[in-house]
């Protein structure tokens, strides 16, 4: 639907719909914390940012049109689906026999603050850099 929607804003709305659907998939995989984060950040923040970007560029083409790469991209997408499906079916994944997780938020918090402290801090620095960079880029002067 993101591909075929005529209006770019409708495409953004369908993107939000697919984000919420993926959050539902996360819940079926017993990843409740990641599902909540997905709804908050993707369906909330990123979607609002995208709608803002579409609204702030009014004279640009709203048509959601394609370019000349359509056939090669279609072939590439088909190849990805076929290859990944073949690998998924042929590989032995050593599946665990344990059941679904109970609650994941506490375990994620402990993992973030004991083995993953350095990536956690780097992620916070990255967020600050992105914030300052975005403000500097759109500042009028």
């Amino acid at each position: 639907m993101i591909i075929v929607a005529r209006n770019l804003l409708h495409a953004v709305l369908f993107l939000i719909l697919s984000f919420v659907g993926i959050a539902g998939l996360f819940i079926t995989l017993s990843a409740d914390f990641v599902a909540v984060v997905q709804v908050l950040i993707y369906a909330g923040a990123i979607a609002v940012l995208m709608i803002f970007a579409v609204m702030l560029t009014p004279a640009s083409d709203r048509g959601n049109t394609g370019n000349l790469l359509q056939l090669p991209a279609l072939v590439l997408g088909g190849l990805i689906i076929a290859g990944a499906t073949y690998i998924v079916i042929e590989t032995d994944w050593r599946e665990a026999s344990r059941g679904p997780f109970d609650t994941t938020a506490q375990a994620i918090g402990e993992a973030l603050l004991s083995p993953f402290v350095l990536p956690f801090e780097i992620a916070s620095v990255l967020l600050v850099v992105a914030l300052v960079g975005a403000i500097v880029l759109v500042r009028e002067d």
């Binding site: 819940i27 079926t28 995208m50 640009s60 370019n67 590439l76 997408g77 665990a96 994941t104």
Partner: protein, 110 residues
């Protein structure tokens, strides 16, 4: 919530859904003219990767199975930062050229 937790999915099904999502994302990112639409394709690809991480964390034998969730949270963080910077770039380029058509932005052409 309880109803959704009762649903039984297998690893292969989720991985194939992830592959299809990734293919849709790469198609959108390669074919759309508007920069915002290209960014939407990239977000779809990141989402497919997240789905794969969560599926592996749920199903595959591992000493620390929650690490997949931590990595998915990091991917979401980086995707948020990337989306903010890319949309700011789109607005800045729009101020300069009054278009965000990927085919017409050739500022770096010499």
């Amino acid at each position: 919530m309880v109803l959704l937790l009762e649903v039984h999915v297998s690893l292969e099904q989720v991985l194939i859904v992830g592959a299809v999502l990734f293919a849709i994302g790469i198609y959108v990112a390669l074919t759309k003219r508007n920069a915002v639409a290209v960014l939407m394709g990239i977000e779809l690809m990141l989402n497919a990767v997240n789905l794969t991480f969560i599926a592996f964390a749920r199903f595959v034998e591992s000493p620390r199975p929650i690490d997949g969730h931590v990595f998915a949270v990091f991917v979401i963080t980086v995707a948020a930062a990337e989306a903010a910077v890319a949309l700011a770039l789109a607005v800045a380029v729009y101020r300069y050229r009054t278009t965000i058509d990927m085919g017409k932005i050739n500022l770096l052409r010499w």
